[in-house]
Protein backbone atom coordinates (compact mmCIF):
# COMPACT_ATOMS: atom_id res chain seq x y z
CA UNK A 1 0.00 0.00 0.00
CA UNK A 2 1.19 3.46 -0.93
CA UNK A 3 0.38 5.83 1.87
CA UNK A 4 0.81 9.58 1.79
CA UNK A 5 0.41 11.60 4.97
CA UNK A 6 0.18 15.35 5.36
CA UNK A 7 2.52 16.04 2.46
CA UNK A 8 3.74 19.60 1.90
CA UNK A 9 5.67 20.62 -1.21
CA UNK A 10 6.62 24.08 -2.38
CA UNK A 11 8.39 25.69 -5.28
CA UNK A 12 10.52 28.31 -3.55
CA UNK A 13 8.04 30.43 -1.60
CA UNK A 14 4.98 29.10 -3.38
CA UNK A 15 3.24 26.22 -1.67
CA UNK A 16 1.94 23.72 -4.24
CA UNK A 17 0.81 20.93 -1.91
CA UNK A 18 -0.60 21.95 1.45
CA UNK A 19 -1.01 18.79 3.45
CA UNK A 20 -2.09 15.99 1.15
CA UNK A 21 -3.10 12.63 2.60
CA UNK A 22 -4.03 9.80 0.32
CA UNK A 23 -3.72 6.05 0.17
CA UNK A 24 -3.55 3.61 -2.70
CA UNK A 25 -4.32 0.00 -1.68
CA UNK A 26 -2.50 -2.85 -3.43
CA UNK A 27 -3.96 -3.96 -6.76
CA UNK A 28 -6.41 -1.06 -6.89
CA UNK A 29 -6.91 1.70 -9.42
CA UNK A 30 -7.12 5.02 -7.60
CA UNK A 31 -7.67 8.28 -9.43
CA UNK A 32 -6.77 11.82 -8.53
CA UNK A 33 -8.77 14.47 -10.34
CA UNK A 34 -8.50 18.23 -10.26
CA UNK A 35 -8.29 21.38 -12.34
CA UNK A 36 -5.20 22.88 -13.98
CA UNK A 37 -2.59 23.87 -11.45
CA UNK A 38 -4.20 21.98 -8.58
CA UNK A 39 -0.97 20.12 -7.81
CA UNK A 40 -1.48 16.72 -9.42
CA UNK A 41 1.81 16.61 -11.30
CA UNK A 42 3.59 17.98 -8.26
CA UNK A 43 2.28 15.06 -6.21
CA UNK A 44 3.35 12.41 -8.72
CA UNK A 45 6.78 13.96 -9.10
CA UNK A 46 7.23 14.02 -5.35
CA UNK A 47 6.25 10.36 -5.09
CA UNK A 48 8.91 9.54 -7.70
CA UNK A 49 11.52 11.57 -5.81
CA UNK A 50 11.92 14.12 -8.59
CA UNK A 51 10.80 16.83 -6.16
CA UNK A 52 11.68 17.04 -2.48
CA UNK A 53 8.91 17.45 0.05
CA UNK A 54 8.99 20.04 2.81
CA UNK A 55 7.26 17.82 5.32
CA UNK A 56 4.98 14.82 5.55
CA UNK A 57 5.56 11.23 4.58
CA UNK A 58 5.21 8.89 1.65
CA UNK A 59 5.49 5.24 2.52
CA UNK A 60 5.41 2.06 0.52
CA UNK A 61 4.95 -0.91 2.83
CA UNK A 62 7.59 -0.44 5.50
CA UNK A 63 9.84 1.93 3.61
CA UNK A 64 9.76 5.70 3.71
CA UNK A 65 10.23 7.27 0.30
CA UNK A 66 10.63 10.97 1.01
CA UNK A 67 14.35 10.56 1.69
CA UNK A 68 14.98 8.27 -1.30
CA UNK A 69 16.63 9.21 -4.57
CA UNK A 70 14.59 8.67 -7.76
CA UNK A 71 16.55 5.57 -8.78
CA UNK A 72 15.96 4.00 -5.39
CA UNK A 73 12.24 4.64 -5.73
CA UNK A 74 12.20 2.98 -9.16
CA UNK A 75 14.06 0.04 -7.63
CA UNK A 76 11.40 -0.20 -4.91
CA UNK A 77 8.77 -0.69 -7.60
CA UNK A 78 7.23 2.65 -8.49
CA UNK A 79 7.26 3.74 -12.13
CA UNK A 80 5.81 6.82 -13.74
CA UNK A 81 4.48 7.74 -17.12
CA UNK A 82 5.07 11.48 -16.81
CA UNK A 83 2.97 14.41 -17.93
CA UNK A 84 3.95 15.48 -21.42
CA UNK A 85 5.22 11.93 -21.98
CA UNK A 86 8.92 12.87 -21.96
CA UNK A 87 9.96 10.38 -24.59
CA UNK A 88 13.68 10.13 -25.38
CA UNK A 89 13.44 11.82 -28.76
CA UNK A 90 16.65 10.50 -30.31
CA UNK A 91 16.28 6.94 -29.09
CA UNK A 92 14.25 4.39 -30.99
CA UNK A 93 11.00 2.97 -29.64
CA UNK A 94 12.87 -0.19 -28.67
CA UNK A 95 15.63 1.77 -26.91
CA UNK A 96 13.03 3.86 -25.08
CA UNK A 97 11.45 0.68 -23.78
CA UNK A 98 14.85 -0.67 -22.76
CA UNK A 99 15.45 2.56 -20.85
CA UNK A 100 12.38 1.70 -18.82
CA UNK A 101 14.17 -1.48 -17.77
CA UNK A 102 17.39 0.41 -17.02
CA UNK A 103 17.79 -0.91 -13.47
CA UNK A 104 16.86 -4.50 -14.30
CA UNK A 105 19.40 -7.24 -14.86
CA UNK A 106 17.10 -10.15 -15.82
CA UNK A 107 17.53 -10.23 -19.59
CA UNK A 108 14.89 -12.93 -20.08
CA UNK A 109 12.34 -11.10 -17.98
CA UNK A 110 12.98 -7.91 -19.92
CA UNK A 111 12.40 -9.71 -23.23
CA UNK A 112 9.15 -11.20 -21.93
CA UNK A 113 7.91 -7.82 -20.75
CA UNK A 114 8.88 -6.22 -24.04
CA UNK A 115 6.72 -8.82 -25.81
CA UNK A 116 3.89 -8.05 -23.41
CA UNK A 117 4.12 -4.32 -24.17
CA UNK A 118 4.21 -5.04 -27.90
CA UNK A 119 1.19 -7.32 -27.66
CA UNK A 120 -0.66 -4.63 -25.77
CA UNK A 121 0.34 -1.88 -28.20
CA UNK A 122 0.95 -3.53 -31.59
CA UNK A 123 1.54 -0.08 -33.04
CA UNK A 124 4.74 0.17 -31.04
CA UNK A 125 5.94 -3.12 -32.45
CA UNK A 126 5.39 -1.87 -36.00
CA UNK A 127 7.39 1.22 -35.18
CA UNK A 128 10.05 -0.34 -32.97
CA UNK A 129 12.98 1.11 -34.97
CA UNK A 130 11.51 4.60 -35.31
CA UNK A 131 12.94 7.49 -33.29
CA UNK A 132 10.75 8.33 -30.32
CA UNK A 133 10.60 12.02 -31.18
CA UNK A 134 8.96 11.31 -34.54
CA UNK A 135 6.04 9.33 -33.11
CA UNK A 136 2.57 10.86 -33.04
CA UNK A 137 1.24 12.13 -29.73
CA UNK A 138 -0.88 9.03 -29.22
CA UNK A 139 1.97 6.70 -30.05
CA UNK A 140 4.20 8.59 -27.65
CA UNK A 141 1.61 8.12 -24.93
CA UNK A 142 1.57 4.36 -25.55
CA UNK A 143 5.35 4.40 -25.46
CA UNK A 144 5.42 6.33 -22.19
CA UNK A 145 3.08 3.80 -20.57
CA UNK A 146 4.99 0.88 -22.08
CA UNK A 147 8.28 2.32 -20.90
CA UNK A 148 6.95 2.67 -17.36
CA UNK A 149 5.76 -0.96 -17.46
CA UNK A 150 9.23 -2.11 -18.49
CA UNK A 151 10.58 -1.51 -15.00
CA UNK A 152 8.09 -4.17 -13.82
CA UNK A 153 6.70 -1.89 -11.14
CA UNK A 154 4.35 -2.74 -8.33
CA UNK A 155 2.76 0.67 -8.67
CA UNK A 156 2.20 2.56 -11.89
CA UNK A 157 1.78 6.34 -11.75
CA UNK A 158 0.05 7.80 -14.80
CA UNK A 159 -0.04 11.55 -15.34
CA UNK A 160 -2.88 12.50 -17.69
CA UNK A 161 -2.61 9.69 -20.22
CA UNK A 162 -5.56 11.19 -22.12
CA UNK A 163 -3.92 14.57 -22.66
CA UNK A 164 -4.12 15.68 -26.28
CA UNK A 165 -5.36 12.36 -27.58
CA UNK A 166 -8.41 11.62 -29.73
CA UNK A 167 -11.39 10.22 -27.76
CA UNK A 168 -11.27 6.86 -29.50
CA UNK A 169 -7.65 6.32 -28.54
CA UNK A 170 -8.34 7.54 -25.01
CA UNK A 171 -10.87 4.72 -24.69
CA UNK A 172 -8.28 2.20 -25.91
CA UNK A 173 -5.67 3.47 -23.50
CA UNK A 174 -8.08 3.31 -20.58
CA UNK A 175 -8.95 -0.25 -21.56
CA UNK A 176 -5.26 -1.08 -21.46
CA UNK A 177 -4.94 0.45 -18.01
CA UNK A 178 -7.74 -1.81 -16.78
CA UNK A 179 -6.05 -4.74 -18.49
CA UNK A 180 -2.72 -4.03 -16.82
CA UNK A 181 -4.48 -3.82 -13.48
CA UNK A 182 -6.44 -7.05 -14.02
CA UNK A 183 -3.82 -9.21 -15.70
CA UNK A 184 -0.73 -8.13 -13.82
CA UNK A 185 -2.39 -7.12 -10.59
CA UNK A 186 -0.60 -3.82 -10.87
CA UNK A 187 -1.60 -0.96 -8.60
CA UNK A 188 -2.41 2.22 -10.52
CA UNK A 189 -2.53 5.83 -9.40
CA UNK A 190 -4.16 7.69 -12.25
CA UNK A 191 -4.07 11.47 -12.49
CA UNK A 192 -6.69 12.83 -14.85
CA UNK A 193 -8.65 15.85 -15.97
CA UNK A 194 -10.94 13.54 -17.84
CA UNK A 195 -12.84 12.79 -14.64
CA UNK A 196 -15.63 10.89 -16.35
CA UNK A 197 -13.32 8.26 -17.83
CA UNK A 198 -11.07 8.10 -14.78
CA UNK A 199 -13.91 7.55 -12.31
CA UNK A 200 -15.26 4.93 -14.70
CA UNK A 201 -12.29 2.62 -14.23
CA UNK A 202 -11.15 3.51 -10.71
CA UNK A 203 -12.42 2.01 -7.49
CA UNK A 204 -11.59 5.04 -5.42
CA UNK A 205 -11.05 8.71 -6.18
CA UNK A 206 -9.66 11.92 -4.70
CA UNK A 207 -10.42 15.47 -5.77
CA UNK A 208 -7.61 17.99 -5.37
CA UNK A 209 -8.02 21.76 -5.39
CA UNK A 210 -5.11 24.21 -5.00
CA UNK A 211 -2.93 21.76 -3.16
CA UNK A 212 -5.56 20.24 -0.88
CA UNK A 213 -7.76 17.17 -1.08
CA UNK A 214 -11.32 18.49 -0.94
CA UNK A 215 -13.29 15.33 -1.56
CA UNK A 216 -12.66 11.61 -1.57
CA UNK A 217 -14.65 8.45 -1.81
CA UNK A 218 -15.68 5.51 -3.90
CA UNK A 219 -15.41 6.31 -7.57
CA UNK A 220 -19.08 5.63 -8.26
CA UNK A 221 -20.10 7.86 -5.38
CA UNK A 222 -17.84 10.67 -6.61
CA UNK A 223 -19.20 10.32 -10.14
CA UNK A 224 -22.69 10.86 -8.77
CA UNK A 225 -21.69 13.72 -6.48
CA UNK A 226 -23.30 17.03 -7.46
CA UNK A 227 -20.23 19.18 -6.81
CA UNK A 228 -17.99 16.86 -8.79
CA UNK A 229 -20.51 16.76 -11.60
CA UNK A 230 -20.64 20.53 -11.75
CA UNK A 231 -16.91 21.13 -11.51
CA UNK A 232 -15.36 18.24 -13.36
CA UNK A 233 -17.91 16.34 -15.35
CA UNK A 234 -19.44 19.32 -17.16
CA UNK A 235 -22.79 18.46 -18.64
CA UNK A 236 -21.95 14.80 -19.16
Amino acid sequence: MLEIKDLHVSYGQIAALKGISLSVPDHAIVTLIGANGAGKTTLLRTISGLLKSKSGSISLGDSELTKCAPHEIVAKGIAQSPEGRMIFANLTVMENLKMGAFLRKDTDGIATDMEYVFSMFPRLKERHAQQGGTLSGGEQQMLAIGRALMSKPKILLLDEPSLGIAPILVRTIFQKIVEINHNLGMTVLLVEQNAHMALGIASHGYVIETGKIVLEGEASWLAANEEVKKAYLGSV
Binding site: P70, V74, A75, F88, L91, K98, M99, F102, S151
Partner: protein, 325 residues
Amino acid sequence: MRPQLIFALIFAGLIGLSLVTGKIDPYYYTVIIFIGINITMATSLNLINGFTGQFSLGHAGFMGVGAYVSAIASTFLTTHGLGTEVMGGVPVMAIALLVGGLAAALTGLAVGIPSLRLKGDYLAIVTLGFNEIIRVIIQNVDFKIDGISYVGGARGFAVPQLSSFLWVFGIALVAIYFVENLINSTYGRGFLAVRDDEVAAEAMGVHTTRFKVRAFVIGSFFAGIGGGLFAHFIQYITPDNFTFLKSIEIVVMVILGGMGSTYGVILAAILLTIMPEALREFSEYRMIIYSLMLIVLMIARPQGLFGSETFTRFFAKRKAAANKV
Protein backbone atom coordinates in the same frame (compact mmCIF):
# COMPACT_ATOMS: atom_id res chain seq x y z
CA MET B 1 31.25 -7.71 -40.14
CA ARG B 2 31.48 -7.39 -36.38
CA PRO B 3 32.83 -4.11 -35.04
CA GLN B 4 35.60 -5.90 -33.10
CA LEU B 5 36.86 -7.41 -36.32
CA ILE B 6 36.77 -4.07 -38.10
CA PHE B 7 38.77 -2.46 -35.31
CA ALA B 8 41.28 -5.32 -35.33
CA LEU B 9 41.72 -4.94 -39.08
CA ILE B 10 42.20 -1.19 -38.81
CA PHE B 11 44.80 -1.74 -36.11
CA ALA B 12 46.66 -4.21 -38.30
CA GLY B 13 46.55 -1.63 -41.09
CA LEU B 14 47.97 0.99 -38.72
CA ILE B 15 50.92 -1.25 -37.87
CA GLY B 16 51.54 -1.71 -41.59
CA LEU B 17 51.33 2.02 -42.22
CA SER B 18 53.62 2.85 -39.32
CA LEU B 19 56.43 1.04 -41.13
CA VAL B 20 56.41 3.55 -43.97
CA THR B 21 55.83 6.80 -42.07
CA GLY B 22 59.58 7.50 -42.21
CA LYS B 23 59.22 8.10 -45.94
CA ILE B 24 56.53 10.78 -45.56
CA ASP B 25 57.46 14.44 -45.96
CA PRO B 26 57.84 15.87 -42.39
CA TYR B 27 55.22 18.57 -43.00
CA TYR B 28 52.57 16.08 -44.10
CA TYR B 29 53.60 13.77 -41.30
CA THR B 30 52.93 16.54 -38.78
CA VAL B 31 49.48 17.16 -40.23
CA ILE B 32 48.71 13.44 -40.10
CA ILE B 33 49.77 13.24 -36.44
CA PHE B 34 47.61 16.26 -35.58
CA ILE B 35 44.68 14.57 -37.30
CA GLY B 36 45.16 11.54 -35.06
CA ILE B 37 45.40 13.62 -31.89
CA ASN B 38 42.36 15.68 -32.88
CA ILE B 39 40.36 12.50 -33.50
CA THR B 40 41.07 11.45 -29.90
CA MET B 41 40.23 14.92 -28.61
CA ALA B 42 37.00 15.22 -30.60
CA THR B 43 35.83 11.66 -29.92
CA SER B 44 36.27 12.15 -26.19
CA LEU B 45 34.60 15.57 -26.15
CA ASN B 46 31.77 14.03 -28.14
CA LEU B 47 31.02 11.76 -25.18
CA ILE B 48 30.48 14.84 -23.02
CA ASN B 49 28.93 17.31 -25.46
CA GLY B 50 27.40 15.04 -28.07
CA PHE B 51 26.21 11.94 -26.25
CA THR B 52 25.56 13.29 -22.77
CA GLY B 53 24.43 16.76 -23.87
CA GLN B 54 26.65 18.74 -21.48
CA PHE B 55 28.23 21.79 -23.04
CA SER B 56 31.89 21.75 -22.00
CA LEU B 57 34.22 24.45 -23.28
CA GLY B 58 37.24 23.33 -21.32
CA HIS B 59 38.59 20.33 -23.19
CA ALA B 60 41.94 22.00 -23.94
CA GLY B 61 42.38 22.54 -20.19
CA PHE B 62 42.28 18.78 -19.60
CA MET B 63 44.53 18.31 -22.59
CA GLY B 64 46.97 20.73 -20.96
CA VAL B 65 46.87 18.88 -17.63
CA GLY B 66 47.62 15.63 -19.46
CA ALA B 67 50.35 17.20 -21.58
CA TYR B 68 52.22 18.68 -18.63
CA VAL B 69 51.79 15.81 -16.20
CA SER B 70 52.84 13.22 -18.77
CA ALA B 71 55.81 15.40 -19.75
CA ILE B 72 56.85 15.67 -16.11
CA ALA B 73 56.57 11.89 -15.79
CA SER B 74 58.58 11.14 -18.93
CA THR B 75 61.25 13.73 -18.13
CA PHE B 76 61.64 12.30 -14.65
CA LEU B 77 61.73 8.70 -15.86
CA THR B 78 64.18 9.31 -18.71
CA THR B 79 66.58 11.03 -16.33
CA HIS B 80 66.21 8.28 -13.73
CA GLY B 81 67.09 5.16 -15.61
CA LEU B 82 64.02 4.44 -17.73
CA GLY B 83 65.26 6.12 -20.88
CA THR B 84 64.18 5.96 -24.48
CA GLU B 85 66.70 3.18 -25.02
CA VAL B 86 64.69 0.80 -22.84
CA MET B 87 62.46 -1.17 -25.23
CA GLY B 88 62.34 1.69 -27.69
CA GLY B 89 60.83 4.06 -25.14
CA VAL B 90 57.55 2.16 -25.03
CA PRO B 91 57.40 1.68 -21.24
CA VAL B 92 58.22 5.31 -20.44
CA MET B 93 55.64 6.57 -22.94
CA ALA B 94 53.00 4.16 -21.69
CA ILE B 95 53.55 5.26 -18.09
CA ALA B 96 53.66 8.94 -19.04
CA LEU B 97 50.39 8.75 -21.01
CA LEU B 98 48.65 6.81 -18.28
CA VAL B 99 49.75 9.23 -15.57
CA GLY B 100 48.77 12.21 -17.75
CA GLY B 101 45.36 10.67 -18.50
CA LEU B 102 44.72 9.90 -14.85
CA ALA B 103 45.71 13.40 -13.76
CA ALA B 104 43.32 14.87 -16.32
CA ALA B 105 40.57 12.47 -15.21
CA LEU B 106 41.06 13.51 -11.57
CA THR B 107 40.90 17.15 -12.60
CA GLY B 108 37.74 16.32 -14.54
CA LEU B 109 36.26 14.79 -11.40
CA ALA B 110 37.16 17.86 -9.31
CA VAL B 111 35.70 20.26 -11.88
CA GLY B 112 32.74 18.05 -12.75
CA ILE B 113 31.24 17.36 -9.33
CA PRO B 114 30.44 20.97 -8.46
CA SER B 115 29.82 22.29 -11.96
CA LEU B 116 27.71 19.56 -13.55
CA ARG B 117 24.73 20.70 -11.52
CA LEU B 118 24.79 23.73 -13.79
CA LYS B 119 23.12 23.57 -17.14
CA GLY B 120 23.85 24.67 -20.68
CA ASP B 121 25.34 28.13 -20.86
CA TYR B 122 26.42 28.14 -17.21
CA LEU B 123 28.38 24.95 -17.58
CA ALA B 124 30.02 26.35 -20.72
CA ILE B 125 31.14 29.45 -18.83
CA VAL B 126 32.45 27.49 -15.83
CA THR B 127 34.44 25.07 -17.98
CA LEU B 128 35.81 27.94 -20.05
CA GLY B 129 36.89 29.66 -16.84
CA PHE B 130 38.50 26.46 -15.63
CA ASN B 131 40.41 26.21 -18.92
CA GLU B 132 41.92 29.65 -18.32
CA ILE B 133 42.68 28.92 -14.66
CA ILE B 134 44.67 25.84 -15.67
CA ARG B 135 46.60 27.92 -18.17
CA VAL B 136 47.42 30.61 -15.62
CA ILE B 137 48.45 28.04 -13.03
CA ILE B 138 50.86 26.38 -15.49
CA GLN B 139 52.29 29.79 -16.32
CA ASN B 140 53.32 30.15 -12.70
CA VAL B 141 54.76 26.72 -12.08
CA ASP B 142 58.48 26.17 -12.48
CA PHE B 143 60.63 23.79 -10.49
CA LYS B 144 63.86 21.82 -10.68
CA ILE B 145 64.64 18.23 -9.76
CA ASP B 146 68.32 17.24 -9.83
CA GLY B 147 69.14 20.38 -11.77
CA ILE B 148 66.63 19.68 -14.53
CA SER B 149 63.93 22.25 -15.16
CA TYR B 150 60.30 21.12 -15.11
CA VAL B 151 57.18 22.90 -16.49
CA GLY B 152 59.05 26.18 -17.04
CA GLY B 153 56.11 28.55 -16.57
CA ALA B 154 55.39 30.79 -19.55
CA ARG B 155 58.82 30.00 -21.03
CA GLY B 156 57.81 26.48 -21.92
CA PHE B 157 58.83 22.93 -21.23
CA ALA B 158 61.13 20.76 -23.34
CA VAL B 159 59.73 17.24 -23.66
CA PRO B 160 61.40 14.05 -24.91
CA GLN B 161 60.29 12.85 -28.35
CA LEU B 162 58.29 9.70 -27.69
CA SER B 163 55.15 10.00 -29.82
CA SER B 164 54.81 8.05 -33.01
CA PHE B 165 52.26 7.34 -35.69
CA LEU B 166 51.34 4.08 -34.01
CA TRP B 167 50.91 5.65 -30.57
CA VAL B 168 48.76 8.46 -31.91
CA PHE B 169 46.47 6.40 -34.10
CA GLY B 170 46.49 3.42 -31.77
CA ILE B 171 45.15 5.67 -28.99
CA ALA B 172 42.62 7.26 -31.36
CA LEU B 173 41.37 3.79 -32.20
CA VAL B 174 41.12 2.85 -28.53
CA ALA B 175 39.17 6.07 -27.82
CA ILE B 176 36.76 5.38 -30.69
CA TYR B 177 36.31 1.74 -29.71
CA PHE B 178 35.80 2.59 -26.06
CA VAL B 179 33.26 5.37 -26.64
CA GLU B 180 31.32 3.40 -29.26
CA ASN B 181 31.14 0.32 -27.05
CA LEU B 182 30.10 2.37 -24.07
CA ILE B 183 27.35 4.21 -25.92
CA ASN B 184 25.91 1.07 -27.45
CA SER B 185 25.75 -0.81 -24.17
CA THR B 186 22.67 -1.01 -21.98
CA TYR B 187 24.51 0.97 -19.35
CA GLY B 188 25.73 3.55 -21.86
CA ARG B 189 22.21 4.28 -23.03
CA GLY B 190 21.96 6.19 -19.77
CA PHE B 191 24.19 8.91 -21.27
CA LEU B 192 21.86 9.32 -24.25
CA ALA B 193 18.85 9.39 -21.95
CA VAL B 194 20.40 12.20 -19.90
CA ARG B 195 20.91 14.17 -23.09
CA ASP B 196 17.39 13.61 -24.44
CA ASP B 197 15.43 14.27 -21.27
CA GLU B 198 17.08 14.61 -17.91
CA VAL B 199 13.89 14.40 -15.85
CA ALA B 200 12.66 11.33 -17.70
CA ALA B 201 16.09 9.73 -17.33
CA GLU B 202 15.93 10.37 -13.61
CA ALA B 203 12.44 8.84 -13.52
CA MET B 204 13.77 5.70 -15.24
CA GLY B 205 16.30 5.27 -12.46
CA VAL B 206 19.32 6.87 -14.12
CA HIS B 207 21.45 8.64 -11.54
CA THR B 208 21.85 11.66 -13.84
CA THR B 209 24.53 13.59 -11.92
CA ARG B 210 26.64 10.46 -11.67
CA PHE B 211 26.34 9.85 -15.41
CA LYS B 212 27.31 13.40 -16.25
CA VAL B 213 30.35 13.20 -13.98
CA ARG B 214 31.30 9.86 -15.53
CA ALA B 215 31.13 11.26 -19.05
CA PHE B 216 33.23 14.18 -17.90
CA VAL B 217 35.86 11.99 -16.25
CA ILE B 218 36.16 9.57 -19.17
CA GLY B 219 36.27 12.45 -21.67
CA SER B 220 38.96 14.20 -19.60
CA PHE B 221 40.99 11.01 -19.37
CA PHE B 222 41.25 10.73 -23.14
CA ALA B 223 41.84 14.48 -23.47
CA GLY B 224 44.76 14.09 -21.05
CA ILE B 225 46.19 11.27 -23.11
CA GLY B 226 45.71 13.39 -26.24
CA GLY B 227 47.70 16.10 -24.51
CA GLY B 228 50.44 13.61 -23.70
CA LEU B 229 50.65 12.51 -27.33
CA PHE B 230 50.80 16.14 -28.41
CA ALA B 231 53.52 17.10 -25.91
CA HIS B 232 55.75 14.17 -26.83
CA PHE B 233 55.35 14.90 -30.50
CA ILE B 234 56.06 18.64 -30.69
CA GLN B 235 58.66 18.34 -27.90
CA TYR B 236 58.16 21.83 -26.58
CA ILE B 237 54.97 22.92 -24.86
CA THR B 238 53.87 26.28 -23.53
CA PRO B 239 50.65 27.22 -21.72
CA ASP B 240 49.52 28.94 -24.93
CA ASN B 241 49.07 25.57 -26.62
CA PHE B 242 46.04 25.01 -24.39
CA THR B 243 43.97 28.19 -24.50
CA PHE B 244 40.19 28.18 -24.78
CA LEU B 245 40.63 28.75 -28.52
CA LYS B 246 41.89 25.17 -28.72
CA SER B 247 38.79 24.09 -26.77
CA ILE B 248 36.55 25.90 -29.22
CA GLU B 249 38.33 24.24 -32.12
CA ILE B 250 37.44 20.83 -30.70
CA VAL B 251 33.88 21.89 -29.93
CA VAL B 252 33.51 22.93 -33.57
CA MET B 253 34.63 19.46 -34.65
CA VAL B 254 31.98 17.90 -32.46
CA ILE B 255 29.23 20.23 -33.68
CA LEU B 256 30.18 19.90 -37.33
CA GLY B 257 30.45 16.15 -36.88
CA GLY B 258 26.86 16.00 -35.69
CA MET B 259 26.88 16.09 -31.84
CA GLY B 260 26.76 12.44 -31.03
CA SER B 261 27.91 10.83 -34.22
CA THR B 262 31.31 9.24 -33.75
CA TYR B 263 31.49 8.71 -37.47
CA GLY B 264 30.83 12.36 -38.31
CA VAL B 265 33.07 13.67 -35.56
CA ILE B 266 36.05 11.70 -36.88
CA LEU B 267 35.44 13.09 -40.34
CA ALA B 268 35.10 16.62 -38.98
CA ALA B 269 38.35 16.23 -37.03
CA ILE B 270 40.13 15.19 -40.23
CA LEU B 271 38.52 17.95 -42.29
CA LEU B 272 39.10 20.72 -39.77
CA THR B 273 42.74 19.73 -39.28
CA ILE B 274 43.46 19.72 -42.99
CA MET B 275 41.41 22.78 -43.94
CA PRO B 276 43.54 25.48 -42.27
CA GLU B 277 46.66 23.82 -43.68
CA ALA B 278 45.27 23.56 -47.20
CA LEU B 279 44.39 27.24 -47.01
CA ARG B 280 47.93 28.36 -46.17
CA GLU B 281 48.49 29.82 -49.64
CA PHE B 282 45.80 32.40 -48.86
CA SER B 283 48.03 33.63 -46.02
CA GLU B 284 46.24 36.43 -44.16
CA TYR B 285 42.82 35.54 -45.61
CA ARG B 286 43.18 32.00 -44.34
CA MET B 287 41.10 32.31 -41.19
CA ILE B 288 38.40 34.29 -42.99
CA ILE B 289 38.03 31.58 -45.60
CA TYR B 290 38.14 28.94 -42.88
CA SER B 291 35.34 30.67 -40.98
CA LEU B 292 33.27 31.14 -44.12
CA MET B 293 33.62 27.46 -44.96
CA LEU B 294 32.45 26.59 -41.45
CA ILE B 295 29.40 28.80 -41.86
CA VAL B 296 28.57 27.27 -45.23
CA LEU B 297 28.98 23.75 -43.86
CA MET B 298 26.73 24.49 -40.90
CA ILE B 299 24.04 25.97 -43.14
CA ALA B 300 24.23 23.07 -45.57
CA ARG B 301 24.32 20.40 -42.86
CA PRO B 302 22.78 21.85 -39.70
CA GLN B 303 22.45 18.34 -38.27
CA GLY B 304 26.19 17.84 -38.76
CA LEU B 305 27.98 15.88 -41.41
CA PHE B 306 26.27 12.65 -40.48
CA GLY B 307 23.44 13.59 -38.16
CA SER B 308 23.29 11.56 -34.98
CA GLU B 309 24.65 8.37 -36.41
CA THR B 310 26.96 6.15 -34.43
CA PHE B 311 29.36 3.71 -36.04
CA THR B 312 27.58 0.64 -34.85
CA ARG B 313 24.16 1.92 -35.79
CA PHE B 314 25.43 2.96 -39.17
CA PHE B 315 26.57 -0.59 -39.85
CA ALA B 316 23.43 -2.07 -38.31
CA LYS B 317 21.27 0.03 -40.63
CA ARG B 318 23.26 -0.93 -43.70
CA LYS B 319 22.88 -4.54 -42.69
CA ALA B 320 19.14 -4.11 -42.23
CA ALA B 321 18.90 -2.43 -45.62
CA ALA B 322 20.91 -5.22 -47.22
CA ASN B 323 18.70 -7.87 -45.64
CA LYS B 324 15.59 -6.21 -47.01
CA VAL B 325 16.77 -6.39 -50.63
